[in-house]
């Protein structure tokens, strides 16, 4: 288990799969990370009206509003340049990833690669980095 620093880090999980959403919540909570949880882009936009998380862990293919549409609506470069967005998807369609990056995402990881430790490590690295983490 990777322990986090004392810093009060907040992550918004945007993941439609109940099991995965819950798994990430358990892992991040155990790692002392504050959470916001949404199951699609629309819910995430609602949460962002009141909150400013440090990191958004964003799935791309979701019902109601997918990750790309969410990024288009959010326009993070204009509206929340401080928020770092990690595309966390099981699809590795390069066009989709490129589009997400052009809309303000800075990092990408295939969900299937990440163990809980690797997820926490990624979040910590992204939080500390000013450049994209690959």
């Amino acid at each position: 288990m990777v322990n986090m620093s004392d810093k009060n880090l907040q992550v918004l999980i945007v993941e439609d799969e109940q099991l995965l959403n819950e798994a990430y919540a358990r892992v991040l909570t155990a790692a002392n990370i504050a959470l916001l949880r949404a199951y699609n882009g629309k819910e995430a936009l609602e949460l962002l009206k009141e909150n400013k998380p440090d990191i958004i862990l964003l799935d791309l293919r979701m019902p109601v509003m997918d990750g790309i549409e969410f990024l288009k609506r959010l326009n993070p470069k204009e509206n929340c340049p401080e928020t770092k967005i990690i595309v966390f998807s099981n699809y590795d369609d390069q066009r989709e990833i490129d589009e997400a990056f052009s809309l303000g995402a800075m990092h990408y990881m295939l969900k299937a690669w990440a163990t809980p430790d690797e997820l926490v490590k990624l979040i910590r690295e992204v939080d500390n980095a000013s450049q994209p983490v690959s």
Binding site: M1, E17, L19, L20, A23, Y24, R26, V27, A30, A31, N90, Y91, D92, D93, Q94, R95, L110, K111, A112, A114, T115, P116, D117
Partner: protein
């Protein structure tokens, strides 16, 4: 008659002896006057016509033996031939009867001075005096070229006509309406397979017997109509010959009113070959139509299959992606327990869960490989080429797989060239290819085996070899090695449990890098997989949009 008149007559007579020679000279035909009593047949005089035609001037002819003047000097007149001619001349003189030689092609000079070959016919004419004795002989030559050519032409025309008639199988016939009999020529008889090959007479009814029953009424009606109306008769019909064969004939004729009644004559042509040919052409056309139709159907089927294949690929991609999610969830939850996110566990529990975690990892790898294979199949595997040091990549792979090697009780030896080996490659895909081969070396080698990784650079290419002391591959199985989903049975195949994709993918990836994989193997001894790749070369980038 007075003396003056007598003198005049004598003078004329005197003169006339000279005139005979002159007259002879002026004879328009080429001829010679010979001394018949002379065994050499010395030439007494020659006509001017002969001089010019045979191109032999008087001084070269007169006073000489006949057979020493042209044209007897030409090669054509052999000694034996001249002997023969001499005999004929002697015979003619002795009997007083003319002898005519066969026409011979001889070189002559035409009126315009142009030399040509002409057919000359020579006649030996013995001349009797009033006492009946032969004292002189004439050799008269005629140019019979025109007659010969005409005869030859006639012969050619005749043979051509005959050939044409035979080739066209044209027969002619005359139907005598009054007697009801048909007279046909040889061809006509042949067509009806009648016994006689020359013209013969048969009754119309008898001939009608050989007409195909299905055509008989039509032909009979047509003959009748033609006779009644005096119109042209033309019918195409089948005849069944005595030997049972069937032939197609076209008969054409016209009734003509004659003094002694109506005569109906015409020709008949055998169309069987043409009809066969037409049938063949028609058959060929039909075949062509069928071929085109088959091609269209095949193309359509091909498009359908391509569509099915596309949807299969899409399905495989979709299913694989869908499979990733539950496998990812398993990874997270087992990972949470193993990595201490939900409290501690016993080492035995950790061991059991570790096996579940490994199995899940393998499942995720297979899914990734299926997705990569699907991309290769659809040409959507995109390379991100960069210049890399293959030596460093080999070292990195060896490090990463060290635990697998040790876990299987093997030893891994690196035998790499000391210098960097720069290749242009997509490092992730090339790593996948090498790892797939190394993975096979590990699982298909009984515990305690040796695996060696060697890297050699030779000129513009390099060879990375993965050598094991494993179960080996039968010769018969080598061809199946890189075929997608093919499984090869060996003592370890059940335990190894491969997906049948790893080597296929490795070969495709190496191929996309401009390289090739060679395999050498001995059953029970081990295998060597040698990846040959060009050193620094741009690799082909496929037209696709995805990249792992």
């Amino acid at each position: 008659m007075n003396s003056r008149t007598l003198r005049s007559e004598i003078d004329t007579a005197k003169h006339s002896t000279i005139d005979y020679r002159q007259i002879f000279r002026d004879i328009p035909d080429p001829c010679l006057l010979l001394d018949a009593a002379d065994p050499d047949y010395t030439v007494i005089e020659v006509s001017k016509a002969r001089e010019s035609i045979l191109d032999a001037p008087r001084e070269e002819v007169v006073g000489r033996p006949l057979f020493s003047v042209p044209p007897y000097t030409t090669e054509m007149f052999t000694d034996a031939f001249i002997q023969d001619l001499r005999e004929h001349m002697r015979h003619a003189i002795r009997t007083g009867r003319s002898y005519q030689l066969e026409p011979m092609p001889l070189p002559v000079r035409g009126v315009n001075g142009v030399k040509r070959t002409a057919y000359l016919q020579t006649t030996y004419v013995p001349l009797r005096d009033p006492s009946g004795a032969v004292r002189y002989a004439l050799v008269i030559t005629h140019d019979v070229s025109d007659e010969i050519h005409a005869a030859e032409q006639a012969k050619t025309i005749e043979s051509r006509l005959s050939a044409a008639l035979k080739m066209g199988n044209v027969g002619s016939w005359v139907y005598d309406v009054a007697t009801g009999r048909v007279i046909g020529d040889g061809n006509f008889m042949r067509m009806f397979k009648m016994s006689k090959k020359s013209a013969a007479t048969y009754s119309l009814d008898m001939l009608m017997e050989s007409v195909h029953p299905d055509d008989r009424m039509r032909v009979t009606a047509s003959v009748k109509q033609s006779l009644e109306q005096g119109s042209l008769f033309e019918e195409e019909y089948r005849v069944i010959l005595s030997d049972g064969t069937q032939r197609w004939l076209l008969a054409r004729g016209e009734p003509v009113a004659q003094e002694d009644g109506l005569q109906f004559s015409g020709v008949v042509v055998d169309l069987t070959e043409q009809r066969d040919l037409r049938a063949q052409v028609e058959l060929a056309r039909e075949q062509d139509r069928l071929n085109r139709r088959a091609a269209r159907i095949l193309q359509q089927r091909n498009e359908e299959l391509e569509a099915i294949s596309r949807s299969k690929d899409e399905f495989v991609a979709l299913a694989s992606h869908q499979l990733r999610t539950p496998a990812t969830a398993v990874k997270q939850y087992i990972g949470m327990v193993l990595q201490g996110y939900v409290g501690g566990i016993t080492s035995e529990q950790a061991d059991v869960l570790g096996r579940a975690f490994e199995s899940n990892e393998r499942q995720i790898q297979i899914i990734n490989q299926i997705l990569s294979a699907a991309r290769v199949d659809t040409g959507r595997l995109v390379m991100a080429p960069a210049s890399i040091d293959l030596r460093l990549l080999a070292q990195s792979i060896a490090r990463d797989m060290e635990s697998d090697v040790q876990g299987s009780g093997h030893t891994l030896t690196l035998n790499l060239t000391p210098n960097p080996v720069q290749v242009t490659a997509d490092i992730d895909y090339l790593r996948m290819a090498i790892e797939n081969i190394l993975h096979n070396a590990i699982v298909y080698t009984p515990p305690g085996g040796h695996i060696t990784l060697t890297l050699k650079a030779r000129g513009s290419s390099c060879v990375l070899s993965i050598i094991d002391t494993g179960v080996g591959i039968k010769k018969a199985d080598l061809s199946k090695l890189f075929v997608k989903f093919s499984r090869i049975h060996n003592p370890l195949s059940v335990e190894a449990g491969g997906s049948g994709i790893g080597l296929y993918l490795a070969a495709e990836i190496v191929r996309l890098h401009g390289g090739v994989i060679d395999v050498e193997s001995r059953v029970g001894k081990g295998s060597t997989f040698a990846i040959s790749m060009p050193i620094v070369k741009d690799i082909g980038v496929k037209s696709a949009h995805e990249q792992s």
